[in-house]
């Protein structure tokens, strides 16, 4: 295979990754790492470096659109990011000491868990009349746009969300992913935010968390520009398209199909890790 063919193929897979990342909130890393490792036999550390760049590109590409629409809650994003960046720094510093087999095994379980959460999720849950004391003190409650005007929401269980964010940060640094699924879980299930607020705020956050890990990955030499450039260009394009499409398409069936694909990839990664073929 020539460099041109490799780059073009990776570019098209990356468009798909960016598109899926923007539409499902799962992040581009879920596609990029398996494609690079299983299909192109790239060293998993370099695949993780490329994935981190894809996460930053997805976050940047989608945040622009979502910020303008007014869904993203910047105060919640920033507050939770304090735990995520500490976790990401710890995870990224640990990465060289952890075996590739353990990374692949952990990555497979994170994929399966993310797919499960994506299939299981309900579009909206009940609204609350009160909020957690930290949410009041930090002024985290806000409004989000609906077809009937802006609707207020009350934030719940802030400490639980902060704890989940720390774990999400460690996984992000350790596996080179955005941990979007865990971040959405923290905001959707713990804080009980409207789903669109959770996914858009998560999209805003994953780029910042990944930028912390990317700094460490650069220093360790895991970001190879010859592998990363098709990923960065493709994911950015895919994320822009996804951010435009998200308001126009119903993503429930898409989420289901994507989750099944993620499960199959996870099983294959797990098999390779168990047989030592990584």
């Amino acid at each position: 295979m020539t460099i041109l063919i490799f780059s073009v193929l990776l570019f098209f897979f990356s468009i798909l990754a960016g598109l899926m990342g923007a539409l499902t909130g799962l992040g581009g890393g879920m596609v990029i790492i398996p494609v690079l490792v299983l299909l192109f036999h790239v060293n998993i550390h370099y695949a993780m470096g490329a994935s981190l760049i894809s996460v930053i590109a997805t976050s940047s590409g989608t945040s622009i659109a979502y910020l303008k629409e007014g869904y993203t809650n910047l105060r919640i994003g920033l507050f939770l990011e304090t735990a995520a960046v500490i976790g990401a720094l710890i995870g990224a510093l640990m990465v060289a000491a952890v075996s590739k087999v353990l990374i692949c095994t952990l990555f497979s379980f994170v994929l399966l868990f993310s797919a499960y959460l994506t299939i299981k999720r309900k579009d909206e849950h009940e609204t609350f009349s009160h909020s957690h004391s930290w949410a009041v003190a930090l002024n985290l409650n806000a409004e989000f746009p609906t077809p009937y005007g802006r609707k207020p929401y009350q934030v719940q269980h802030v400490p639980a969300a902060l704890t989940i964010m720390g774990i999400a940060g460690i996984l992000s640094g350790l596996l080179g992913i955005g941990s979007g699924a865990l971040k959405v879980l923290a905001m959707d299930q713990a804080m009980r935010l409207p789903y669109k607020v959770s996914t858009t705020t998560s999209n805003f956050m994953i780029g910042i968390t990944a930028a912390v890990s990317a700094g460490v990955y650069f220093a360790k030499g895991y970001i190879n520009p010859a592998i990363v450039f098709p990923v960065m260009l493709g994911v950015t394009l895919g994320a822009f398209i996804g951010a435009k499409l998200i308001t126009k398409i119903h993503s429930r069936s898409l989420r289901f199909v994507f989750s099944i694909a993620v499960c199959l990839i996870a099983i294959q990664m797990l098999y390779k890790a168990i047989t030592g073929d990584i």
């Binding site: 020539t2 622009i64 912390v212």
Partner: protein, 116 residues
């Protein structure tokens, strides 16, 4: 809130556009020079890209195809630092001490991880 969100969106758009243009320029030059060569997978998997921050900047401004790509990637990452730093400035202007400190804390972690 809306004004604040738009203030963050503009530097993000500028950063992403600049980063994409740099990477695109490097990618085109790299593929024109090496596109027809066989993919050196063993070399790609074993090449060491470990560099100090100084070497990283030297490489990014070496005006080589891969140097342009590296410059674009650095712009993309530093855009994340700028967007959080801008939020710190915004909250400081509003007199919101808690969120000024929170934003500054995240900015410091970002700077430490990228320049340590």
């Amino acid at each position: 809130m809306r004004a604040q969100q738009k203030i963050i969106a503009v530097p993000l758009l500028v950063g992403v556009t600049l980063a994409t243009l740099c990477v695109l320029m490097g990618a085109m030059s790299y593929l024109l020079a090496h596109g027809n060569e066989t993919l050196p997978l063993a070399k790609l998997n074993n090449d060491s890209w470990k560099m100090s921050v100084h070497q990283l900047f030297q490489f990014a401004f070496s005006f080589t195809p891969l140097g342009y790509i590296e410059l674009g990637l650095l712009i993309l990452i530093y855009t994340q630092i700028i967007r959080v730093a801008l939020l710190a400035w915004f909250y400081a202007k509003l007199g919101d001490k808690w969120f000024t400190w929170i934003s500054l804390f995240i900015t410091v972690i970002l700077i430490y991880s990228n320049f340590y």
